[in-house]
Amino acid sequence: MSTTTAAPAAAVGAPMGELALRVARRGGRSVAVHQFHQGALRVLRPHYLDDSGQLGYVMVNPGGAYLGADLYVVDVEVEAGASLLLTTQSATKIYRTPGSFAEQRMAIRLGEGARLELAPDQLIAYREASYRQDTRISMHPSSSLLMSEIVTPGWSPEGTAFSYEELRLRSEVRVESTGLPKGGGLLALDNVLIRPRLGASDVTGLGFMEGRSHLGSLLVVDQRVDQALAEELRAIAAAHGALSGVSLTATVGGTTGLMLRALSDSTEELNRLLAGCSTYLRRHWYGQEALDLRKY
């Protein structure tokens, strides 16, 4: 299943954990053609959740949490026609990072007609934690991306919400097409920056969290994304108690993005809302059933 190659070059120093994965289509199914891991990151044995040929991988952090100055590097490539579902085994936990920050850098490349569903568990940043997540996605215009994220308030032992220092979750989606000037274009730049303790700004107030504790995001990029889909997902989201909004990006290289943002008071509610959307897309676009990861 996996081939042996040299470790990908570390960006700065030695990462605490590294994971590289390349998935290709072989005879109607998606298989891993390259798999590498090192340090405190690994994947569970891949599996097929249904008969669609979509490969499922679960990322695991055996250390249980990210600490200060920890760097995690993840590199994922889905080759032409292949389909990958990437999840995590449990919540990503960030512990105290005094004078420093934990960081995850993720690079994703999606080939022609490739499909990636990225559905990690929620992110929990504890007291005095700082975390940066930098995700760079490069897509062929015909590829398909579904990416979700839930950020929790990270309760302190005293029961205080938002006692962490800083969370930065920045994702860039670039469409690579020979038909575009410069060979590609930036489709979406999603920059979530929460600094609960910065000066006069009140992240709990109007305009920011608005009295709610959890933030959920869903980004879908696909040539089939249109206003009608936005209406469908808007209606699905509206059936939940969360405060949500949906909008479309500009079209770049013939493909379009849909961003859904939701504020809620619980991880469970956001999980149901996001699952409702992903189930709709799985059925509507691929004839697949709802995701059942059997872990909740």
């Binding site: 930065r168 920045r170 860039e172 989606v173 000037p181 274009g185 930036l186 489709l187 979406a188 730049l189 999603d190 920059n191 979530v192 920056l193 006069a200 700004s201 107030g205 109007l206 305009g207 920011f208 969290m209 608005e210 933030l215 808007r234 405060l243 949500s244 909004g245 949906v246 909008s247 479309l248 990006t249 500009a250 961003m259 943002r261 939701a262 504020l263």
Partner: protein
């Protein structure tokens, strides 16, 4: 045109006057959604929204974009980043619509090679033409110092939003003036903040503001285009 402190001041005043026909009267940038939810309904509640919008979205997108133009960052790249980070469609379209008007006015009254270069990117489809970038290019070509340009741009945005609130909520004219006076500190803080933020901060979202801007697309009765 002679370049003196007085000529620069007059140019800046014309560029940021609420009579400048960019169509700012047609945009609430999401406060109309808060009106529908009953959260913005009087002077105090609009002031709360205005302070949040100024300190968050206007600072992290518009003000920072203007500073990057002054820093010499490539316009095509900044333009592309603005289009990609303004995720609520109506807000992105408002920035482009008002930017297009400003580019046209600027070409007639404050022409410069820099402005022509940006207009050329827009007419050839290599840039969308965003309002803060059009403003920054013109202000910089006129020799307006960054801090003055930022303060003028932000206060112009706050002024048109307040005028829109006076009509829409409605508020008294004097309430509008009190809101503008109260926004002085927020504008000064935003100018200072914009000087210290980094490219990583560019376009940082404010979830509540963003969701309201997205929900405006489906609002039934509305006065504004955003």
């Amino acid at each position: 045109m002679p370049n003196t402190p007085t000529s620069r001041r007059l140019a800046l005043q014309q560029l940021t006057d609420s009579a400048l026909p960019t169509g700012a009267f047609a945009h609430s940038f999401g406060f109309e959604s808060y009106m529908e939810r009953g959260l913005v309904h009087d002077e105090a509640s609009f002031g709360t929204w205005l302070a949040a919008f100024l300190g968050q979205q206007l600072t992290y997108s518009d003000a920072l974009a203007i500073r990057f133009v002054y820093d010499g960052a490539p316009l095509a790249e900044l333009d592309e980043q603005l289009s990609a980070q303004l995720l609520p469609r109506q807000v992105r379209e408002a920035s482009i619509k008002m930017g297009g008007r400003l580019l046209g006015i600027g070409a007639e009254v404050f022409p410069s090679p820099e402005l022509e270069a940006y207009r050329a990117l827009v007419t050839t489809g290599r840039a969308a033409g965003h309002q803060p970038l059009a403003f920054a290019v013109v202000a910089r070509s006129l020799g307006v110092p960054l801090e003055e340009a930022l303060a003028a741009y932000l206060f112009a945005a706050v002024t048109s939003l307040t005028q829109n609130a006076v009509r829409a909520i409605p508020l008294g004219q004097n309430a509008g003036q009190r809101l503008l006076r109260a926004a002085h500190d927020g504008v000064a803080a935003a100018v200072e903040r914009a000087g210290t933020l980094t490219p990583d901060d560019f376009g940082a979202i404010s979830p509540g503001l963003e969701i309201s801007q997205m929900r405006h697309e489906k609002q039934r009765a509305r006065m504004f285009m955003s």
